[in-house]
Symmetry: C2
Subunit: 415 residues, 2 copies
């Protein structure tokens, strides 16, 4: 463990100790102060970001990655707004999750308490810096941030601004810190910082997440790759099916809750397949289909790889299945456990799909695009967990905490 | 990934799919059938176990490890009783954790659902085989068991008996299986079986747990090392303090919730230290003390290593601290995050200790020995988690499940 990471983590731990007992009002005041400070420092943030973008462009970074890296006045305003939104959410810390009086008179309470120190590893999206800092602060934890080297100038300025704002609000600056270290070494040290860091949240693409999951000795909350399916059952309302498929695929393509695969029950295939192909193609979607779909002009024959692909683009894999069992088997085989939808008017088909599909979210007659902390009413979201441990699905503030049992007695001993 | 582990895990996954929708009555019937079968096969189990014990003795295994490995009629009966007790507990699967109707009319429910496939890695205690199988079955998951090679004959017979009982009860035998593979390779493969196994629970000593935590790419629930402290505050009822310290240290020494360290506020040290030393020494406890304690005959001077040691024996580290802050600092420095107790009549001291000590359980005026699933009323326990992710403290059946969001609509799309 490099000494400098240890020092930063130790200071974060000390700072988190003070934050753990801070009442909501103190945290909310700090969040508004952070929002004000980010807006006030907008020129500095944008100047640093322009350098990052220029350097990335010179090194040949692809246009869509430059777009993620780029901040503008509107995006800075949105990050400030995000901090204010977190301030408006209920405080998860202190919630009594359960409580009882035991037969021997002991009073048992399980309380929601902060993790302590959270690590976040992310890609070249400087807005994550502010988002993660705000969510962790409200959840009572210090945060160690490790963004991409290509966003280092932006992140350095943003973190400096946030730290100053925290201090002015009467909280320790060390609640928010960048992980020291050049290149990949900083991230690698963070992943080995078991005991110094309580939980690690990777935010980014499949490669980043896999690398963190495989290398980290710190417990990880895996966030999400989404190979999401929409299955149109024999009994579906076909107009509803068309509307849900179009929405799930095209409303926004670059996100993990967009649909990537389409399954159609044979009984409705003759009527539905041509309408689906036409509707999707009208929206610019390339259909990668099995032979039933590929009989239509413009449909690309699907290979096995298509069933596994999270396109994040205007592409969809499509297949006709003989029955509900085949649909469930296909989903169980290829799902990444994010969000899976069935369109059906059959109660029994819906029940079986819900019970047998193994995913963070299963939807009946609704678009996969709803699986999002904001849409489900959780407020801020730090990511969508596709693992089964700790949190599954959109993670709001309560998911960014742990619990503690408090046992109060008057001298009880065990016999 | 060895093919044979993949095959076993795939069969377990298929079996778990059937179990996931099995109602409580089916699971409870199977648990009683498993209990009956273990009792009926007692002679075979004991014969296999005798071979294990003999082989271990010949290879020079220490007496206390032989004791853990050894089964007798009473222990077999206790494992059967454990299965019946699990049958008597409420079914965690299907519980609605939360639910609401969203503004757009979507109905949201978060349901408790099984993990799917759970891996358990444990040492040479064949009773864990039955315990883990029973808990996982009731929680709706298949279980892959990897015990110590020295208990292989015992485990093989027990697993065969359980599998037959499952089949006779109408459930798939593949819900319970041993991990194939010689020596450490089987365990190593299980730790890399990400995607095949949903969660791994190591049960055993600190070495086993550390090795699993460091090597596993499957999410792990860490169970517990307990360097538990009792702090006697300035305002403590001294008789109560004596009783709690004695109970926490001596009621049972080999368990993770036994006290290993004792802190005494300076204000009560003159009166309390001699009484504590006398009481502990009467019970055969060796006190490893700071200079205030070491002034008493028979007290061994403590080194820094003592503050870190989980003795699991009739030993205790003891120190006088100048104030509550020093006590909290000591605990924060040396605690393993298991169970920490304060004895005090001061409301503010108790509140601060509870808030600032970072552990799965904090006790006020009660023995650390109460931190146990059975004592806290959770019924069966698969271990005590000292990590902050997913479960913290004693893990009962609900902690051995995950959740799934179910979103039901009538054609809603996102705009």
């Amino acid at each position: 463990m490099p000494d400098d990471l240890r020092a930063v983590a130790d200071r974060a731990r000390e700072a988190s100790r003070r934050l753990a007992t801070a009442p909501r009002a103190v945290k909310d005041t700090a969040l508004h102060a952070m929002a004000d400070a980010v807006l006030e420092a907008r020129a500095d943030v944008l100047a640093a970001n322009a350098e990052d973008v220029e350097a990335a462009r010179e090194s040949g970074t692809a246009a869509h990655l430059l777009d993620r890296l780029r901040l503008d006045a509107e995006r800075v305003a949105a990050t400030a707004e995000g901090l204010r939104q977190v301030a408006s959410l209920p405080d998860p810390v202190g919630e009594v999750v359960r409580g009882s009086r035991l037969p021997n008179g002991l009073e048992l309470r399980q309380l929601r308490v902060p993790f302590g120190v959270v690590g976040v590893i992310y890609e070249a999206r400087p807005n994550v810096t502010t988002d993660a800092a705000g969510i962790c602060l409200k959840a009572g934890s210090a945060v160690l941030l490790r963004g991409s080297a290509s966003a280092l100038r932006s992140n350095t300025v943003v973190v400096r601004v946030l730290r100053t704002a925290l201090e002015e609000a009467g909280l320790p600056a060390d609640l928010v810190a960048l992980v020291p270290g050049e290149g990949r070494e900083g991230a690698a040290a963070l992943m080995r910082a078991r005991g110094l860091v309580d939980v690690l949240v990777p935010r980014g693409g499949a490669g980043l997440i896999r690398s963190v999951v495989e290398s980290s000795t710190v417990p990880v909350i895996e966030t999400g790759v989404g190979n999401c399916h929409v299955y149109v059952d024999a009994s579906a309302d076909l107009d509803m099916a068309l509307s849900i498929v179009a929405n799930a695929k095209t409303q926004r393509t670059s996100v993990c809750n967009a649909a990537e695969s389409l399954l159609v029950h044979e009984a409705v295939a003759d009527e539905l397949v041509p309408r689906l192909v036409a509707l999707l193609q009208e929206s610019g979607v390339t259909v990668h289909g099995d032979e039933r779909f590929a009989a239509h002009a413009g449909v690309v024959p699907a290979t096995e790889e298509d069933w596994a692909t999270e396109y994040l683009s205007l592409d969809i894999a499509a297949r006709v299945v003989p029955d509900l069992d085949a649909a469930i088997d296909h989903v169980r085989r290829w799902s990444t456990g994010h969000s899976e939808a069935i369109v059906t008017e059959s109660r029994s088909a819906a029940d079986r799909f819900v019970a047998e599909v193994d995913a963070a979210a299963v939807l009946v007659n609704a678009s996969t695009r709803f699986v999002d902390g904001g849409e489900l009413g959780f407020g801020a979201e730090i990511g969508i967990s596709t693992q089964k441990l700790h949190a599954r699905g959109p993670m709001g503030l309560p998911e960014m905490t742990t619990t503690k049992y408090v046992v109060s007695g008057h001298g009880q001993t065990r016999s």
